[in-house]
Each structure stands twice: as structure tokens, then as C-alpha cells.
Symmetry: D2
Subunit: 277 residues, 4 copies
């Protein structure tokens, strides 16, 4: 048998309706089922039919999240490939959200929104929702070394933090959404964005720029810290999600002092996280 | 604790000496260790030191394969991050090999060569070698339908196969290399290249082109077939590799009749493969 | 002075209203102005303000094409950077359009839509609209050689074309839109899609697949032919566009028999094209 | 006629011998010729033959720079496509060079090396060599605003610069190489690397990191400044290159406070540059 057979890079607009507001998301999808050794080939056109049915349904019957679209496709895959014991769906889309800038002025910022769904045997269906957010990190280690080497440990004027290197950081957070539970992508964006040294912004006037720089240096963070902070905020935000819920969290810093990136990841259940606090 | 902390996108030339011939490979590396909750941060510069030591060693003491370089880096990561219980190395590089064309004339063809190494607790170290090869697939299903619909099932002139859609296919094969065993990247390239409907070539004169087209249509293959054929050739090629050896095989067709790709994958042990023949 | 100073990779949703129907496009923008040597730096935040003003305008006052959005941003750039003698805007977005499949059933297909605007001194403003379409080409040369070498030049059963290699082809068409003229992206998609050996489709049932394969082999085309056909259809479609209108046309075939691509391009005015017929 | 017909994405190892030392570069090539309207198609396999001949020549007869390889391919293209009035070659490769770190310890750093060659009618052949270097910029504007807003203009302890945002910057420099002149890629890397706020390094121990951070903040630079500095160092380095020599210089900052990049470019002749000093 083959582990996964399917199609990748399918592009499809999906309508999600949340709080009375409909948004069109331009999704890129990868979908797979397994294939028993008794079958010569998988019927690949059925994958597209499964996608199209789930997407059409989202037009007539409002769907509140892309993880539900992913789950519906996953169910349709299992039905259409009647021999399958497994189905998997990955979905990613550009996503825009209005956010207040440092001076309070609201502006659209760009994110990515993601969903996964996996169905295995008769174990039911697991669905996940996630976001990718671009933020900023300032390095605590370089800051400390600069202070030691060049400041004689004397504090700065007005407690201004000392210089460090800072850079663009791309962080992702994926959370399992159990049946009858609700996890909102916009909340996940909040969780991730607050975990950086600073959020990033499309438009910054001069004084805003100084505020962002100051905040980033007042909250210096390693990639490891970004991961830990996301997990900590996530636990606070979702106290009622059960212990079995799976979480994957990543932070990648495009280091300004290096040509390579720094990376940290944690894969865990909420139970693991609660026990290790 | 964090699952993986490290650096990604490190570029480094590595010298591999095989059969008395030294080749320089320009590698891109991702390396990670885990991080216990008692540690605030991972010392990221140690990752670069681990890479550099293993690479320097390859200059002075000839190394016969990049999976050994990956393993050496993996070992150095565990030593340098003394708190770690896990280390992981991924390595990929452009690779060139002289291959005979359809008319026998030899020419350099471009491939990718890959290696992974994983060390977990005291379980010893697992290393894998792999290749990525670009080939061609012709679709058996469309060929059959064309024959049914347009040929009245009458055979063609000189048994020439009927038309079908064909396209570029990217296939990868990763194989675990147990201690005291040897798996040669060049052999893996053979295995993969023979599993397509046809290999692809840099230079083809007119009559060569016709030969390639003919061969591809005489061996029409789904992505599923490419995966199965690679596994079958692999078993033949390595009868002495133990049953526990892990294999990951993928084939992705950049479908000429669609805007999306077709994909098949099998993850298995050689034991699984041998039992399912 | 500097030739171009600006921002790249800005993401922004833009609303276009055409034929009474509003569509949201998720655009990626690059914008630039020149910088005289008397200025130390360009005010980069003004670029974002220029983009935001033009985009906000598109919400309140319906805009009929993204080339008009590009032109409005270009004008705003010149105003906000009062020292500039030049401004340039590039914009690209995913785009979906309902198309009939081979059996007439309509389905959404994915494309890319693009716009450029350039303003130089007092020469007024030049704007272009374009599309990127994924299609299929079958090689006429391999087909002919196969016929010569393997068919003894005997015709096939029912005039069925002989085998050839075929592959995915990515073609782009950009056309200048003069003041008071109208060029519709949907028409450009028609022009490009009809210039391939065959269009490509998201969903194809078995008999549809055979139709696509047959059509592709009945219209074998080199990359050069795709470019020439696009230009020819474009001239037919827009007889009234003036001779000065600039056109850029490209076709790139992801060759199934090679690891590299084949490429053809023509940059010309409609006048050039009309004179060379 | 068609402006450009050819092949893209050809991979090929090329040997360059300089100062008695041979280096293998793994190049990716795009090559084109024009096609008169009297020709139905360009013979694409001739492009590969042109590449292979020039590359083979580099094995037997040492070649001192990749711009010469590009020029040789360009000449071969014109000869093999006897109808052509134009030929163009682009070549890019990973490149490694030993560089001293902040504490003097030498280490291999990764760069890209590029070459172009263009032949038009009987105008002879123009060849260019270039490099892509990853460095670091610290923003002078944010630094000044922070000082104004948070420091009451009081100087810092030990004249330590105040905080700013800094980030990865990718800069490219391409220079025409006239007949009988020599431009060394390694020198161009020097020119670019010294034009950033700071170079970037693969391995940095703690005290090195502090030195890099300090230097970057002592030399804050806009993308515009990086471009101007590169041009200025280039003029100093090559006083004897003629005025007609063409130069293209770019700097792109992956802004840490934004999700988009900042970009600056100058396209000029050395004469333009000398006159505008």
C-alpha cells in the first residue's frame, strides 16, 4: 500500500463567515489519501471533486472557519475514496486583519492562515487551525554583552536599553480544534504577535518607529523565548481546551548578524504544557 | 523543554572522497538539538562549530559519503550541547553525474543529493542518504482512454503507442544506512532514474528526442507506479540490507493537463516491503 | 541621484468593480521613485501612504481595473515624493475565473493578474495590464521525428496524431492601456489560453482527459509558436488599439524531456506587429 | 522576429582558475538568442552544445573568471545560431570565500557570484561580473528619533550609540568588464561588504557579536547609503576603468520593523558616477 497519494498546489477561493461577516480566502491546498495494495491507482479527479463540493457548500451554508472547510474536504475524501483508511488536508491562505499601530491608528496587516485535517481509520477526524505572523526580535544575549563590554555596567540615560541586533522573525502557531470547541484565528494572531519583541507594521511615522524600536529592546527575546511566550499566552487564552489538544509552535529569526536563520520549535499537548509550568 | 532549537540555511562546501576521487559539494544545512526546560537558551554558535569541525575533518581524513558528514555533525552537536537528548541534521546539495544519453553519448546531468542524521537519547545514531531526480512520466490512464475512444481498439502502425499526456516528475528516495553498511548515492540515482517512464537529458539531438518519447510511452506510469518501481528496484539492489532499514520514497508529477501536481509517497521499512511483495 | 528607491513585497487587498461585480484581489506590490542627489533618503513611509490612499479610494469610488489602481498609486507617489522625476509600480495577484471544461461543465480556474504603471518627468503616465496563464504544449518537432522514424510515414488509425512530449507551459501577456482605452484581463486570459496546444483544467473526468490530450497533439506548438499565436490573437482582439501600444509576451515550457525550461519572448509595439504580419 | 528564445535553469559545473588555484562553481544558466521571422523555431539543443563547449574548454584551457565563460558561451551561441543578431547569457553560482571575523579568526563565508554576457549585431560583446552579498544595516533615522525622543539629546555612556532597528540586507553589484581589463569578484565582495553597516558572519562568539552590533550602530545606513557607498568604493578601487563601463548596484533591506522590504538601486556608467561626485 502507499502512505499518501493525492494532489498538491490546488488553488481555490473559500468563503468563511464569522460574526456575520463573510471573507473570501484564496487558498492553496494539498490533499492525500492512502492507497491499499489492491488498487493500481488512486482516482485523482475525486480529490478535486471533494475539494469543490466542500467549497461549494461553504457558499450556500456559511462556514465559520477554514479548519471546518479542511475537515469537510477530509470527510469527502474518505467517502469518495471508499478504499481509504486515511485522509489528510493542508490549506494555507493570505489573510488580512486590521490592527492598531503604535500610535493607535488602525491599519490592515498581512498574515497567513492555515488549517490541517487528518482522518485515520475509525478514529474520527482531527482538525487544526493556525497562523503565520511576521514580527521582530531583539537579541537579549548581544544586549547583555554590549552592556558588559562597553557600558561598565553603568545604566543608560533614562534607563534606555542598550543596542543589540534585531531582525525579522516568522512565527507559526497551529492548534488542534476539538469537536464542539472554538479556536479563532484572530485570537491566535494576537497570541503570536504579543510574543515577539515587537509586532511589525506596514506604516510607521517617525515617532512610531522610535516606539517600536524602544519596545523591541525593552523585551529582548531569543527564538526560544518567542516559542515559550506563545505557549504561555495560548494557555491563558484557552483555559477550557482539553489536555489532549495538540499544539505546534515555531519561531524562525532571519538573523541580522548572520547569513543563516535561528529556529525553535515545540510540539506538545496542552496537558504537557500545563504540567510543565 | 523545546523539541528543536537550531540554525537553518547554513551553506558550507563539503569534500567527499569515493573510489579515490574527491568531489566538493556545496551543502545547505539545517541542524537542531532539543533544549531542556532548565536551560534558558541554546548556544547557537556551537551548532556552527559542530558543522565546521565535521567539515574540516572531511578535508584531512577522507569521508566517503555525505551521510557520514551528517552523522559526524550530529555526534558533535550532542557533545557540544551536553544537555541535549536529541540532535538532528538535514543536508542537501547539487550533484552532477555523468550519464549515457539515449544514443550512448555521455553527458553531465544535474541531481540533488541529501543526507539526514538523527541521534536520540542513547539509541545510537540513525543516518540516511537520499537523492532527488527529475524524470518524465506518461499517463497510462489517458493513453488507454484515447485508445478506447479514438482507435476502436485497432492497433497502431508498428505497435507505436498512442498519445497521452506526459510531464516532468520530481522523485526522491531516502534510505537509512545502518552501521557497517554502504549505500551509494550513485546507485540510488540509478534506482530512481529507471523508475520513471523515461529519464530526462540535458542534450538531445532530434533522433534522441524521438527515442525518449517512444520509451516514455512504452512505459506509461502513474506517480503511484513510480513509487512502487523505485521500491522494487531498491529491494533488488540491496538484498543484504536488514529488514529494519527505513525508506521514504516520493514522486511528484507536474501534470501537463492540470495546474496542480500529482503526488505519491510511501514510508516503510525494508521488512514491510519484503513482506508485501 | 539614485535610479529607484522604494519598497517591495507589500501585501494589500484591492477591490475592483467591473460589470457591476466587485472582486477582492490580494495584491503584492513593489513601488519605486527616483531620488535626486540633493536628498539624503527617500521617505519610505510615503510609499505606503500612497498605496493606502489609492486602495482606500477603490473602496469608495469603484475602480474598473487593477491597472487603474497601479496608475493611481503611481500618481500619488509623484505627488508625495515632490522631488521625484520618476515613479514605478508593479502589482500581481491570484485571480480566479470560471471557464468551461472540455465537456462544457464550468469550473473555477486559477490565474495571475498583473499591472504596471510608470510615470517619467512630464511625459504622462503609462499603464499596463497583464495575465499569467498555465497551459500545455506538445512538441511539433518530436512528433515529426517519431513519425519519420517509427511510422514509415504511414498515417495513423483515424488520423490520430502520433506521440510527442508535452508539458506544462507558463505564459504571460502584458499590454499597455492607453488613456480612454479599455483592455480587459478576462479577454487577455482568453487570448493566452487559446494560444497553447491546449488549456489546462482543474477537474477532468476520463473522457475529458482524452479530449485534452487529443487537442494538444492536434495543435503541437513550440514556445515560439505560443508567443506568435498570442500576438496574433491579440491583434485580432484589439484592432482599435493604437500602433504605439507596447506589448510584452512570454512563454516558458517546463520541458518534460529535459531538466531545464524552454523560453521565448517578444517585446514589441502593436505597430511593429502589424507591420510584420 | 522574436526578441529572445532559449533555455533557462540549466545547471552546470564550471572550473575557474585564478592565481594558480582552481575552483569548481555549480552554475545555473539562462541563455537566449533572437529569432528572425524567417525561422520557424530556434534549435534549442544548440544552446546546450554552446554551453558544453565553453565549459569543456574551461577544463582544458584555464579560464580566469566566470564572465569569460559567459562571454565564450555568448560567442558560441552567435556562431551556432547563424541567423541570430543577438545573444544573451546569465550565470549565477554559490561562492565561498575565506574572510576574517571580528576577532581576526578566518572562516568561510557564503556569497553568490554572477556573470552576464550580451552580443548584439557587430557591436562586439559586453560582459559583466557581479556578486551578491548578505550584510546588515542599522537605520540612521530611527536612531536619531530615539535619541531626540528618549535621550533629551544627552550623550550616552562612553559615546555608545543609541538603539535602532537593524536587519539583514542583500546587496548586489554588477560591473562591466571591458576587453583587456580585469575585475576580480573577490574585490567586488570587499566593496560590497564594506558598504553595509556591518558584514555578517557564520560563527560569532559572544564578544564578537557585541563588536558586530557596535560597529553596525556606529555606521547606520539607509538602503540608499549602501548603494552610494558601494559606488564610491568601486570608483576608488578601479580608477583605471574607462568612463563607459556600466554598473548596476542594488541594496534590499529585509526591514525588521516592517513585513515588506526597503530597496534602492542605481544603474549608471562610471563616467556618470565620476561626474556626479
Amino acid at each position: 500500500m502507499l502512505s499518501r497519494v493525492g494532489v498538491t498546489g490546488v488553488k481555490k477561493p473559500v468563503v468563511v463567515t464569522r460574526g456575520g461577516r463573510s471573507t473570501t480566502l484564496f487558498c492553496t491546498l494539498d490533499v492525500f489519501v492512502d492507497l491499499p495494495s489492491t488498487q493500481k491507482g488512486s482516482h485523482l479527479s475525486r480529490n478535486l471533486e471533494a475539494i469543490n463540493e466542500a467549497v461549494s457548500m461553504s457558499m450556500t451554508e456559511p462556514i465559520s472557519g477554514i479548519e471546518i472547510v479542511a475537515a469537510n474536504i477530509c470527510r469527502a475524501l474518505r467517502e469518495k475514496h471508499e478504499y481509504s483508511t486515511f485522509a489528510e488536508v493542508h490549506l494555507i491562505a493570505d489573510y488580512f486583519l486590521e490592527r492598531p499601530g503604535p500610535s493607535g491608528k488602525r491599519n490592515l496587516e498581512a498574515f497567513k492562515i492555515m488549517a490541517d485535517a487528518i482522518s485515520r481509520n475509525d478514529d474520527g477526524l482531527k482538525k487544526m487551525i493556525g497562523v503565520e505572523v511576521v514580527g521582530m526580535t531583539a537579541c537579549p544575549c548581544a544586549m547583555e554583552t554590549v552592556r558588559e563590554q562597553y557600558c561598565n555596567n553603568v545604566t543608560m540615560e533614562g534607563d534606555l536599553p542598550v543596542i543589540s541586533h534585531n531582525q525579522r522573525n516568522v512565527a507559526t502557531l497551529m492548534v488542534e480544534v476539538p469537536e464542539d470547541c472554538d479556536v479563532e484565528a484572530n485570537d491566535l494572531i494576537d497570541v503570536v504577535e504579543q510574543s515577539f519583541s515587537s509586532a511589525t507594521y506596514e506604516v510607521l511615522k517617525r515617532s512610531d518607529e522610535a516606539k517600536v524600536v524602544l519596545q523591541a529592546h525593552q523585551r529582548p527575546k531569543f527564538v526560544e523565548d518567542v516559542v515559550r511566550t506563545m505557549l504561555s499566552f495560548l494557555l491563558e487564552r484557552y483555559p477550557h481546551l482539553p489536555d489532549g489538544v495538540q499544539v505546534t509552535v515555531r519561531s524562525e529569526s532571519e538573523e541580522s548578524i548572520h547569513k543563516h536563520n535561528a529556529f525553535a520549535e515545540r510540539v506538545a499537548t496542552l496537558g504537557d504544557l500545563r504540567n510543565s509550568r
